[in-house]
């Protein structure tokens, strides 16, 4: 009885709403029609929207599907492709699938989808709408505030970007100047070197003859009287060496050769040790390899068929691990780590300026190994973690701290001028024609050369990092510019997720770190940040992470999840996503919600 009454009321309200329409359409036939579509249904012969056929008005909502697209049955479940419009006065109107009409489940908050079923739907639109409106209002507030922050940041970002560009240009011209200076200094240095070398040779020669004479005199000291010796010595000093002296010299050189030999031996020994070192260090790698293969023999044993040596429990775990990949994971993880370490070593060599080093992951695997309690625990933990509350933080990454070079005021002209001046003065002060070379001047030049070329290499490295940075896509308005030098963290139970946009993302647990991926790009017009090619997963894809961005007042990571094995997702709120268009859309939605009052307030329409 009650249902019927409400149904009547509902129909009445429809009637009241639509009575102003030009063509009177029977009420039941109006079911499920979007008011905006009403005119479409006015004529006596109605077209299917897909143009496939036409149908007479009596067939509208007659519980028989005539149009493949459902045009003729907006208010019934007869067409599989149909949509039912619920007015939901007081809340938001929605269109639901025809399959929901009279299926016994209340889908529209006004209950209009269950006009002919056993379902007892109450109209919850006003209450639900109130909650939704409040939520929407809050969201709008956030958007408004966020928009201001965003504007500010965009402005700053553009300035900073411009400054970066200017810096780059400046750096490039500096580089040019420096290169020239370095070139000049090098030339000078080389000349000095040459001069000095000549001097040295000369000196050596002098010293040599001096020594020879000394030797000679020593010898002669024994045999002849001193004055005589002195004379001949002076003679010999002028015309080189002859006669007996040669023997002495020869023996002397012999001695020298021997001592040289000895030193070569020690050097060789060193080299040998060096070899040992390298073999030791490569041994270190193979040790790592051994660690990673530590568990492998177990698998191997299994394969070779001799499971006898395994304890019963080990055997059970081993077989279980085929399905779970647990044991395997550890092994491959470790292999992955070794590999990663190697790669990191590589990359740290190749891109030293980027300057991040990897931590070793051995601890984790040890922990896992020692944890003999429950082999399923690891997995359980994974799940638990997904549920821990998020704890986002906004921090500058320690290893992303500016390069010492950055402390050099790139934009200030003074340092380069200074260098230039110094170099000029040094160069000018140096007298090439003076022999012997003025020691302090030479040192000066060398120092200047070293300083300047180190400056040059710093400038060059700065250029390459800046170029690298400026190649990045920071968004339509460069709204993501400041993400470049930042990392964001979120702690979820034992894991800390560290997300460094444009660089990489990782999952850290204590000292162990799992690479979730390197920066790939933005997707869905800057709404998603994608990191790919993370650490390998046993039986799964390489790890990857997608961070969905949404409007918020702070940059905050939350809801890190792993919906599919090794495919991570996270949410991040950021002012960068507080967009004006979206705000307008929300405001419009709120406006609509506010104007649609529930039944009884239809006069407001």
């Amino acid at each position: 009885m009650e249902i019927r009454l409400r149904f009547a009321l509902l129909l009445t309200s429809f009637f009241v709403v639509w009575v102003y329409g030009a063509t009177p359409i029977p009420n039941k036939q109006l079911l499920g029609i979007d008011p905006q579509d009403l005119s479409f249904y006015k004529s006596n012969v109605i077209k299917c929207k897909d143009g496939s056929k036409k149908f007479a008005k009596e067939l509208l909502n007659d519980e028989f599907c005539d149009c493949p697209d459902g045009t003729d049955e907006p208010g019934t479940s007869a067409c599989p492709e149909g949509k039912f419009y619920c007015q939901n006065a007081g809340h938001t109107p929605i269109k639901i699938f025809s399959s929901r009409v009279n299926d016994g489940v209340c889908d529209c908050c006004d209950g209009s989808d269950e006009y002919n079923s056993n379902a007892n739907c109450t109209n919850t639109c006003w209450e639900a709408g109130k909650v939704a409106r409040e939520k929407l209002k809050k969201k709008i507030e956030t958007f408004k505030e966020g928009l201001i922050i965003r504007k500010d940041e965009v402005e700053k970002a553009n300035n900073a970007y411009a400054k970066d560009e200017a810096d780059l240009a400046k750096l490039k011209s500096d580089e040019k100047v420096l290169k020239e200076l370095v070139q000049k200094l090098r030339e000078q240095k080389e000349r000095i070197d040459k001069l000095e070398e000549e001097e040295r040779l000369k000196k050596e020669k002098e010293e040599k003859s001096l020594r020879e004479e000394e030797e000679k005199s020593k010898e002669q000291e024994i045999k002849a009287d001193e004055t005589q010796i002195f004379d001949t010595m002076e003679n010999h000093e002028q015309d080189g060496s002859t006669g007996n002296l040669d023997i002495a010299v020869e023996s002397g050189t012999d001695n020298m050769v021997e001592s040289k030999k000895a030193s070569t031996q020690t050097e060789e020994q060193h080299v040998g040790e060096g070899h040992d070192d390298t073999s030791e260090s490569s041994g270190g790698i193979s040790q790592d390899g051994e660690i990673s293969s530590y568990e492998v023999p177990k698998q191997d044993q299994d394969d070779s068929g001799s499971t006898e040596e395994l304890s019963r429990e080990e055997l059970g775990r081993l077989v279980a691990s085929r399905w779970t990949s647990e044991g395997a994971d550890q092994t491959t993880d470790k292999i992955g780590n070794v590999e990663e370490d190697l790669m990191d070593q590589d990359s740290s060599v190749a891109h030293e300026h980027e300057g991040y080093t990897s931590e070793t992951d051995d601890d984790r695997s040890k922990d896992d190994d020692d944890d003999d309690d429950n082999f399923e625990d690891d997995r359980d933990d994974e799940f638990e973690d997904d549920h821990s509350s998020s704890d986002a933080s906004y921090i500058a990454d320690e290893y992303e701290k500016p390069d010492p070079l950055d402390s050099i005021e790139v934009s200030s002209p003074t340092w380069l001028d200074k260098i230039q001046q110094t170099v000029q003065s040094v160069l000018q002060a140096f007298n090439f024609f003076k022999t012997p070379v003025n020691v302090s001047d030479a040192t000066h030049i060398r120092k200047e050369y070293d300083d300047t070329s180190s400056k040059l290499s710093k400038v060059q490295s700065r250029i390459s990092s800046l170029t690298e940075k400026l190649k990045r896509d920071f968004g339509k308005e460069k709204e993501f510019y400041f993400f470049y030098d930042q990392c964001f963290e979120s702690k979820q139970n034992k894991y800390v997720y560290k997300i460094c946009p444009f660089k990489q993302a990782s999952q850290d647990e204590g000292y162990s770190k799992t690479r979730l991926g390197s920066w790939d790009n933005f997707e869905e017009s800057y709404r998603v940040m994608v990191f790919t090619n993370g650490e390998k997963c046993w039986n799964g894809p390489d790890r990857s992470l997608k961070v969905r961005l949404r409007c918020g007042l702070k940059n905050e990571i939350s809801d890190v999840d792993e919906p599919s094995r090794c495919e991570y997702t996270a949410l991040m709120s950021t002012p960068a996503l507080c967009l004006e268009d979206k705000l307008k859309e929300l405001e419009k939605k709120l406006e609509q919600m506010n104007t649609r009052k529930p039944q009884g307030h239809h006069d407001e329409l």
Binding site: P80, G289, E313, S325, I335, E339, E384, G540, R565
Partner: protein
Amino acid sequence: MRRSIVRSLLFSSSSAVPATMAPLPPLLLRYLVVILIPLFLFFSSASAWKKDEFRNCNQTPFCKRARTRTPHSLPRLIVSDLLISDGHLTAHLQPSLSSEDDVSAGDTPHPRPLVLRLSVYQDGILRLKIDEDYSAPSAPSKQRFEVPDVVLPDFEDRRLWLPRVSSTEDGSISSLYLSDGFEVVLRHDPFEIQVRRKRSNDPIISLNSHGLFEFEQLREKKEGEDWEERFRGHTDTRPRGPQSISFDVSFHGAEFVYGIPEHASTSLALRATRGPGVEHSEPYRLFNLDVFEYLHDSPFGLYGSIPFMLSHGLKGSSGFFWLNAAEMQIDVLAPGWDDSAAAGNDRIDTFWMSETGIVDAFFFVGPGPKDVLQQYASVTGTLAMPQEFAIAYHQCRWNYRDEEDVATVDAGFDEHDIPYDVLWLDIEHTDGKRYFTWDRVLFPNPEEMQKKLTAKGRHMVTIVDPHIKRDDSYYVHKEATDKGYYVKDATGKDFDGWCWSGSSSYPDTLNPEVREWWAEKFSLKNYGGSTPSLYIWNDMNEPSVFNGPEISMPRDALHFGGVEHRELHNVYGLYFHMATADGLLKRGNGKDRPFVLSRAFFAGSQRHGAIWTGDNSADWDQLRSSVPMILTLGLTGISFSGADVGGFFGNPEPELLVRWYQLAAYYPFFRAHAHHDTKRREPWLFGERRTALIREAIHIRYSLLPYYYSLFREASVSGIPIMRPLWLEFPEDKKSFDNSEAFMIGEGILVQGIYEEGQKSVSVYLPGEQSWYNMRNGAAYSGGQTHKLEVFEDSIPSFQRAGSIVPRKYRFRRSTTQMANDPYTLVIALNSSLAAEGELYIDDGKSYDFEQGAYIHRRFVFSNGKLTSSTIHSASLREKKFSSSCTVERIILLGLPSAPKKAVIEPGNHETEIEPGPLTLRGGASSVALVIRKPNVRIADDWTIKVL
């Protein structure tokens, strides 16, 4: 993909490694070696089926012994002391020992005679039992195990009382009446049993025609004799020594033999395993095993065993069932296997070997294939009528992790307008794999979660496995320990094996008391967090024991009554399944039909619930083998079965996944499932187009639910499966006998799978003389021909047989629950005489009221331009009634040569319009049929509709 790459690297590792490494700098190469070597070691052990882990025939002494015997090499067996007692024929069976043998045998004890008993049952069933003579003076103290609880309790009621036995004059042959037209012939010397046609004396099935019958009698251990068997570090003490049985069975007039699941194969017909032309000679093994990444084509044993084989040929069908739950190996022998010159061209010889037990064999005479199935069903029973929700679509994954995940997936179906009925939770939902518990962090409010599903008419299934965690604080373990309900090891202690829960023990469900106790665990009170809409999944019940021999329980483990595990291994899973189903039955006070899915099975498992084909893989070959596997299950009684959609292991390419959905929509049991390492594959994750394709596939199943439910009813009454090989419907169409790609759903629908990537065209053989209507576009194709058809992305080829009427529902809902009141569509495909017929069965879809007559069973007949609906069931038996206000909203006519405009409905003399219309309602469907618009007759009523 990754996995297959690794695999291919593996198999060609020696050549692949240098090839991939060649261009790499030497330093990296060194690193790679360090990395790859352990990787290879690892993967080589982790990928694919582990042949070494399972015994082949040569490593199985009884199999090896039996298989080396040649025909007629054993001493002749002689039948003596024939006697009719209690309506059975009994006799003694004894090897003929010449005096020579006596001397040479020396210390071999003279074998005791065996006791043979023949019994005859209604409808052409012969039962043969051969066992030790326990009344003999030197009889063994221990009885051999005879499998209880498989043969229906009322089977004995159908026994025919044998009044006498007629023997030939010379006394060499005795014969027994079997049924009209069939008799049993027992030859006395040498012993042979033959079932044959009476007049023609044509044999149908015979046993011991090749003199391979061997029965190793129980005996005392001789001094110095070693009975132990060792395999891969496991020792089987075998305290009772050798006790195997083997014999040959011949199917006469047979062109193919089928049955004896479970094996993965792309062929429905069993292939020869021995004899000329057989390459890899390994018998079909029946031994329930948990096989990691099984091969799609192999005679090795999988999760379940049914020692029932059927033969079929133009001369008819027959069947042979050996009720024995020990390990069995069966050879199908290629013609010429016995070096006989005249290779029997219409006979198939088979050789059956079992480790222990007795001979308890059933012969089914047919003569039609459906007769054989019904005869087998009269021994082991028909499928339990499932609830309606259970035959709809199931969504599963290892694992839906938490309540939020469950809610999200559930909402995903609604968002994409895809119906589903059941959401499944795998092992991770429990508290540390303690079944009947919940991980309360992930599932803090399981009741509420289930109620949310119930609100949308959906159900939930949770997993309950037989390995019970050995944890003193776990009540199930504590109770089982205290009551001594666990299976014992050879020394008598509770058997302790390793499985998901770590150290675990296994309830001994052979014991009725243990089953009772186990069943109680499912009451709403005992199973915390359960609700009446929760149903159960039994996995790992082979049983799977990770550290046991062949990943199972040691054969010398001990069960109730001192039965060794070897004696009942193959039936363990059935008992566990049975106890679980009993639990759900009890929970609902006997009013709610249980739903329990089991992986392990044995003959008779159909009475306890559904079966699926276990851990398959995401590749095309496994899609292909799913059809013969499910058909074989259906032929051996397990009608309610299916394969995991998409493949459990690995990630299916989207095309494969879509094709799998399109095929699986016709499986009797329709569930998607995936390993936890795989990518998510809920239907909407592969782009809009694929979502639409999968939605359409699932919708096809939902639209056919009235037809399926009627077929389930039929199967529950007759034992005829839902999904049928073509030859079951066309037993005289020789071309259909070896078809493993297409199948029938009931009598009316033929489906051809698409098993290849990017397939553009397909050859479909349409059997019989009548034509077939393409269910996609209504086009007619003639029968008895192979048609080359274009393959479309949106469906796999399916046809409605001319002469059939298929009831459907063209309204799509969230789940079956909301479809209860929706109107029907009848699709009538007329045959050449413009006639057709079909049936519809409806009940409340939940309870057992149908047993008291609370159902609607209609028969539709179209002839002479008139459709008539009449009731099938006899009104007299009705204690309860089921009513339905459902109407028929549409009748679709295919194959009518004229185009009538109107139809008249009686009673009431109403007129309604007939107009051209589509076969389905989906967008763009063109008019291919005549549609009687809105007849709006009630489905429950008698009426006629005349086409004018």
